[in-house]
Symmetry: C2
Subunit: 304 residues, 2 copies
Amino acid sequence: MTLGSFTGVLVPALTPFKADLSPDRERFLAHLKWLLRQGADGLAIFGTTSEANSMSVEEKIELLDYVIAGGIPPARLMPGTGCCALTDSVRLTRHAAQQKCGGVLMLPPFFYKGVSDAGLFANFSEVIQRVGDSALKVYLYHIPPQTSTPITLNLIGMLLKAYRGTVIGLKDSSGDWNNTAAVLKEFPEFDVFPGSELFLLQGMRAGGQGCITATGNVNPAGIRKVFEQWQTPQADALQAGIDRVRKAIQAYPMVPALKRIIAHFNHDAEWAQVRPPLVRLPEEKWTSLLPELAEAGLGGAAAA
Amino acid sequence: MTLGSFTGVLVPALTPFKADLSPDRERFLAHLKWLLRQGADGLAIFGTTSEANSMSVEEKIELLDYVIAGGIPPARLMPGTGCCALTDSVRLTRHAAQQKCGGVLMLPPFFYKGVSDAGLFANFSEVIQRVGDSALKVYLYHIPPQTSTPITLNLIGMLLKAYRGTVIGLKDSSGDWNNTAAVLKEFPEFDVFPGSELFLLQGMRAGGQGCITATGNVNPAGIRKVFEQWQTPQADALQAGIDRVRKAIQAYPMVPALKRIIAHFNHDAEWAQVRPPLVRLPEEKWTSLLPELAEAGLGGAAAA
């Protein structure tokens, strides 16, 4: 059972930047189209991997409009729209809803620490009420390593009670399987996506909907195959294969490494650009990553 | 010696909100005027205490323009202009510079964790270069409890080497005197403001410039007196007095408590409003805080 339009492998798409650090919308659109051709079920643009918090609301709105105008079906888009500022979250969420995006992925306001579930509830509640669109589908974004502000079981319960049918799922980037399992157990009707393919098979077996994973930017077809075949005898072997690729990459700074991989396979050096405060992958790290990728089985497939 | 126009007691001014959660610019202007009348040397608007990260760039620009039009001298303003997104930081910093603010207080981009000094340097460097105003004065904002992204001694050294005369100081909200002392020792020419009046006297004796402190919103005159008399025999007794007020307040959630105090002394219940994810101070906490304030010696002075 799924409550929204999303199930399977969603990719928090990387945002390419030009040498002047402005978003490169042409390369972005080409990358999204490649991901869909490779079998990505959805595009979670403006996520952590997208360097979304390094972009203004205006830049995100312009990119969103551009890729939709360029042919990306809005129903396949799950843009990140949760900002620190309530008014920014409202503006971006409203725009995504007006554009008929399949859903939105909402970070909690992440500057303050130790805020209460009541305060987080008030934040999400204000956004939902101000947007006021019955078609809005909200996925909560639990990523305590970055936010230190968890989406607790208690908070999920409060939101489901008040906004059932609108708040319909969770991306769990805690990296903690016990948390994912607890959410699946407590809220079996909730659409839960682990934030890494390391938990894809385990998640499917426990009632999850797939995964939303950074490395989907370079290994979408491999990860999709595990989703397709999770009920077959090959599932564990396929999972072990994508685990090897993931583990090779995640030993490096994730976003710079993914961009450097695409730059390599696309013969397009400009793809390696990041926006501060991130820095490009140093070449000596690339020199060690490249053979590790080959050994893990990731070849020329990663080409947008 | 001070490199900028600021020395003494700066107040990260609270931002009042209306019942509909929009910024209340009239109450904000009245509060800033009261703080100046009480002896505040500067107004560090759009800080943590100001709930600045709960407001959009547009809202901050509108408030800044309004208070300047309303008579607040720009030279007394040190707005917070460091955002997560590079383009937001550039826009807000440029606007503050165009408005001839005495300085700006810059948070590091605070979403990513474990970013390198090189990446943080690139962020500040891009902002300074894009604003391109030789009159710009930047104070760095070190507040690891909120950001988990420290302004290290190494980073300060890198910035001073590249932007001496532009990067001129630091607000140290680490709450760690050893860090403040290390910055003062390593960079004696740097304008250092501890982020709490608990370190005011200690800071002045070690070469600091004063303090930038949340509780300045309700006890500006008391704190200013320590600054005025820090070289007199009464200094330690005066410091002990403001410590008592600070410690009474900081046992409660800081921003909601400060707003509730002003609401009380101003007979203006609307002042207690906060923007999510913060929540108002529960009345039972206020019932315990009020007599503690009286015991600490804070009376009716806190009235805007």
